[in-house]
């Protein structure tokens, strides 16, 4: 188990983060909903809280529609939160002025999923990698180039690659360029949004290994988001499970996988295909389909599909409690 940061404050602290999107309708429906004051809203992220320390990886798993991608964007203020507080290295970043926000942005970077669309095909590698530096106001060309060269070397590419265009590289190499771009401003925190989901299995291991090495070398904090539970388990110290815009369970990686308390987590873990036919397990029951995020179920959002649901589950939403050491779950009938 890795040594967690021993500072008093976490690198990233998120409290009650909410992000709602208005549902796009036709012009007339917009007017009618304004008059009736019932604007429909997509509850993408509905009150999420977590902490991330230095040199620590928090994995975020969930299926489509759970809100993890929106959460990634909101934490970095790429989209304005509807409510909540985000504290980075002790500062409330939503209260920062533009100039200060730019400085903070340098310390919080992101790596995207698609190695093909995350790099501008008309820009050379050196321009892609130096863009965050230029955007934050760096002027001295020599320093900028030097930092770009260092970033490329850190990800296993060579400085002669700086002049090339993205299409001259393979998928794995392009993902490395994306990582170099995230590293060039010497960040403290990197949000990784499905960084290996578009890569082949044999390349995935290379990139994951690289990410781990970089974390050790630069003491980075990772928010690792993926729908691939196997990969998240491998990379994370702690894992948070999201469902319909809420975190239903957070615990150490081993506990999430081997001792899940929430019924959804249990169902998810039993559904993950393991590369070993002897481990074919019985599925933990999960009924029906994911409901629409415009009209989430009342009370516990999982109750319509949960085999243990009772009356109270439909009435009020369960809050996160801590039945085990560092193990949080939001459920009225957790698995003991």
């Amino acid at each position: 188990m890795k040594e967690l940061g021993l500072e008093n404050r976490a690198t990233l602290s998120v409290n009650g983060l909410v992000k709602h999107f208005p549902v796009r309708r036709t012009f007339l429906e917009d007017i009618s909903s304004l008059i009736r004051k019932n604007t429909k809203v997509v509850h993408a992220v509905d009150g999420v809280s977590f902490e991330l320390g230095r040199n620590e990886t928090l994995g975020l798993v969930g299926e489509s529609g759970c809100g993890k991608t929106t959460l990634a964007r909101t934490v970095l203020l790429l989209t304005r939160p509807t409510a909540g507080r985000i504290t980075f290295e002790g500062k409330d970043i939503m209260a920062l002025k533009d100039a200060d926000l730019k400085k903070v942005r340098n310390k919080m970077q992101i790596v995207f999923q698609d190695p093909f669309s995350s790099l501008d095909p008309r820009m050379r590698t050196k321009d892609i990698v130096t863009e965050p530096l230029v955007a934050s106001g760096a002027k001295d060309k020599n320093t900028i180039m030097k930092m770009a060269g260092e970033a490329l070397e850190a990800v296993g590419l060579k400085s002669e690659h700086l002049d090339r265009f993205p299409h001259e590289f393979s998928g794995g190499q392009r993902q490395r360029i994306g990582i170099a771009r995230a590293l060039v401003t010497k960040p403290r925190l990197i949000v990784l949004d499905e960084p290996t989901s578009s890569l082949d299995a044999s390349i995935q291991a290379q990139v994951l290994g690289l990410l781990r090495n970089l974390q050790d070398e630069f003491e980075l904090s990772y928010l690792f988001i993926s729908h691939n539970v196997n990969v998240v388990y491998y990379m994370s110290d702690r894992i948070a499970v999201m469902y319909m815009g809420k975190i239903v369970e957070t615990a150490d990686a081993d506990d999430i996988v081997n001792k899940p308390m929430h019924l959804y987590t249990a169902a998810l873990m039993s559904a993950v295909p393991k590369p070993n036919p002897k481990l074919r397990r019985e599925l933990v029951e999960i009924k029906g389909e994911v409901p629409s995020p415009i009209n989430p179920p009342s009370g516990c959002r999982y109750h319509p599909r949960c085999p243990r649901a009772t009356g109270e589950c439909a009435l009020e939403e369960p809050v996160l409690v801590e039945p085990g050491r560092n193990h949080f779950v939001a459920c009225y009938h957790p698995i003991a």
Partner: protein, 254 residues
């Protein structure tokens, strides 16, 4: 080829294109006058060559300006969405509601005759198409993750449009533009034909066709040759446009 003619234009006219030599009028193509002479004895060849820079200039200016205006409006509208986009769409709707020729005519008549007026009229007519195309391309480009990456780096919206959106949408627009060069010449010719553009004695190709049409039977070279030249130039531009597109795509570079 047309470019060569433009550049050399002034120097290789063997005859003064404006010089009226009445005894020599209506001579068919020959060695001394490769394209013949027109009804006022002027050498057609020289007039065609001198007309080249006029038409080309019109075409280039109109297309360049239309692209510039169209791309700016279209990319901003497409990227920002919301009200700016709606406004752009409505404005272009108004312009596109009219058939282009009619609109060109109307604006041209309002502005009065003359080459510069023709240029202005055609720009007014032409830019909405580019704006629409630019907007559509921008919307496609906007979804790419490199745009998100640029925002994550802290780039302002304007910088993103300038550095990322425009370079990625410009290629099809330039191809479209080179094709249009030919069409602008056609439109300019039509306007001149109708008396709104070039004024005598300026040798503009369209005007030459108009002036020469009464001689279609007797001295066919007067209207036909400028017309053929227009055709060749239009085709030439479209081939050029294809080559340009291939050259511009960094993916095609080895």
């Amino acid at each position: 080829m047309a470019l060569a003619a433009v550049l050399a234009g002034d120097k290789i006219t063997p005859y003064n294109p404006y010089q009226i030599v009445l005894p020599r009028r209506l001579q068919p193509p020959s060695w001394t006058h490769p394209f013949g002479t027109d009804q006022l004895g002027r050498d057609v060849f020289s007039r065609v060559i001198i007309g080249a820079p006029i038409d080309l200039a019109i075409a280039l200016i109109v297309v360049a300006a239309s692209i510039a205006i169209g791309v700016s409006a279209g990319s901003i509208g497409g990227y920002c969405g919301g009200r700016a986009d709606e406004a752009l769409m409505r404005i272009t709707d108004v312009f596109l509601a009219f058939p282009m020729v009619m609109l060109a005519l109307a604006v041209s008549m309002a502005l009065g005759p003359g080459i510069f007026q023709v240029i202005e009229a055609l720009i007014v007519v032409w830019w909405p198409v580019y704006a629409r195309t630019a907007r559509a391309e921008t919307i496609a480009v906007r979804e790419n993750q490199y745009i998100e990456a640029a925002r994550a780096s802290g780039l302002s919206n304007l910088a993103i449009i300038r550095n990322h959106v425009v370079p990625n949408i410009i290629s099809p627009l330039l191809v479209y533009g080179t094709l249009d060069l030919g069409f602008v010449i056609l439109y300019a010719s039509v306007l001149s034909y109708l008396g709104l553009g070039a004024q005598p004695p300026q040798p503009e190709w369209g005007k030459m066709v108009f002036d020469g049409q009464i001689f279609l039977r007797s001295a066919w070279w007067i209207p036909i040759i400028p017309g053929l030249i227009i055709l060749i130039v239009v085709i030439g531009f479209s081939l050029f446009g294809d080559a340009l597109r291939d050259a511009l795509d960094p993916r095609m570079r080895k």
